[in-house]
Symmetry: C2
Subunit: 314 residues, 2 copies
């Protein structure tokens, strides 16, 4: 089975590295010139739990993919806002039976996937693995994680396709879990990303600093209430109070509170456009679709876009 990973940043490199180490036939595709050059020349040089491991790997620039390449399993790790452009290019190296696994942050990307692939080909999930990048081709891979996933289509073929991916992941130590409640997990993660990402980026603080303010409490409650209302409209049962408590765990400086969320890294540190449209923006879009008021998510989305424009983020 040919596995193609598109988006060879920190997380794509982790999956590529672990699958290749397990003996799979893996190719990486990325749009960052220096990263592709490094991967083609030296392969992945991973800082794997403190040990340096070099792993040669097949790699292509997204604009120079081998025309013979055909993916049996496509794993997508691009940024959410690049998804549409990525999917247009993947048409060249996928076929009618290709399984497409999407592990992006946020929600709303299922609808984009459906425009390019049959529902039975699509597998969605989220992952608890973490990864960093120390330079082109040099991922820093520490700690443990897992991948929860579920076939979007309901056919037997769709179910068995998802289980096949889980088997491959488990052989590679990636800890795949067939998760019927995947949308619950996605919305649960969205409660964190839909509060911490936008607010810490707007106010330029870490999660512990945000959590130490009084005035922030009601903001978080409003944002989470809207997210939970959208989840419930999609038949995902979740408790508002549990989700607020889950978000508030992020404030603890002894666990992850001193962390600056990924959107802060993107916008404030690296001056890049954010994934806000697939987080709070997706909630606002779904709110319009279902006739549910989502003004807090709408306002936060527009504030982040205004800040992107003010900072000239690319």
């Amino acid at each position: 089975m040919k596995i193609v990973i598109v988006g060879a940043g920190a997380m794509g490199s982790r999956f590529g590295f672990m699958l290749k180490q397990a003996g799979q036939d893996v190719a990486l595709i990325d749009g960052w010139d220096k990263n592709v050059e490094a991967l083609q020349k030296d392969g992945i040089i991973a800082n794997y739990n403190g040990e340096e491991i070099q792993q040669p790997i097949e790699a292509y620039h997204e604009d120079a993919v081998d025309p013979e390449l055909k993916a049996d399993l496509l794993i997508i790790f691009t940024k959410a806002m690049q998804l549409e452009a990525t999917l247009q290019k993947t048409q060249a190296y996928t076929h009618n039976e290709t399984r497409v696994l999407c592990l992006l942050n946020g929600i709303g990307y299922e609808d984009i996937l459906r425009r390019y692939f049959d529902e039975d080909q699509i597998i969605i999930g989220n992952t608890m693995w973490t990864a960093g990048l120390e330079g082109p081709g040099r991922p820093k891979l520490f700690g443990d994680g897992s991948v929860n996933l579920l076939n979007l289509g309901k056919s037997d073929a769709a179910v068995s396709g998802a289980h096949e991916v889980i088997d491959i992941f488990n052989e590679a130590g990636l800890n795949g879990v067939y998760e019927k409640g995947i949308f619950y997990l996605i919305y649960k993660k969205l409660c964190v990303n839909g509060t911490m990402n936008g607010l810490c980026s707007l106010l330029e603080c870490n999660m512990a600093e945000l959590g130490a303010t009084e005035a922030n409490r009601e903001i978080v409650q409003q944002l989470v209430s809207e997210i939970v209302a959208i989840a419930q409209a999609e038949d995902v049962e979740m408790s508002r109070e549990e989700m607020i408590a889950h978000v508030e765990e992020c404030y603890n400086p002894e666990t992850i509170g001193l962390h600056y969320p990924s959107m802060y890294q993107d916008l404030i540190k690296n001056n890049r456009s954010t994934e806000i449209d697939f987080i709070n923006g997706a909630i606002a879009d779904k709110g319009k679709k279902y006739g549910i008021a989502t003004p807090y998510n709408d306002f936060l989305t527009r504030l982040i876009h205004t800040k992107e424009e003010l900072l000239g983020a690319k």
Copy 2:
């Protein structure tokens, strides 16, 4: 007639200076030690349209007011959030016939005034005069302006009291105007302050920079729509479209666009608490009272309070 001005910052000093120059009996009260010392020692030293004019004046620290002092006209120029504390102290030097003129930014302070004075004593207004402060006792007074005002009570005595104030102002060149549509003007000003102040402080930009962003347009429209809805609930007729156009005039870099609003000066430059509760916060409070949804004004209020906490504003 004894005129007492409480709050001898830039604007209080302008009114004190012009009234005293016109021969009125004026006393200033302020809480800033150095300012009071300077006023007591040298009086007001005004940079008046480029000419230095020294004007001796009666002045007191707010905690050391002459027990004999009794105001016939009290003009309030403190910051809105200090109003309650100020009014408690003014009880010592006002009487049952004192006229109280309040020229604060924002709305909602009428309800506080009513707790300390009879409605017939209260005059509300707003002013187009500007003023700066170059140091303790040293106002910089350039340009022209006017004062629009209206008695809050409906009695003959209330009406004649307001006209008396206008006469005094006109003798001093302050251009008093009896304005039956005062609440229209107050809400019109609030449309500007309720958008530019909070947004420029949150995003740390001037009005032209804000106006140059695409994503900001819908935010301004939402905030203004809520303000107009509250105004209409109070029988103040205004057009949403006209108010949005009025706000958008602020973006022009050839007029006032390069200006950073007063809240930016307070919070970002001087690390002081803001007047947000009397601007967007007052709209949110009135929204609850009238059953009108005002989530944009509510969210902006809480974001500014969160930022005050993060910055340790005093």
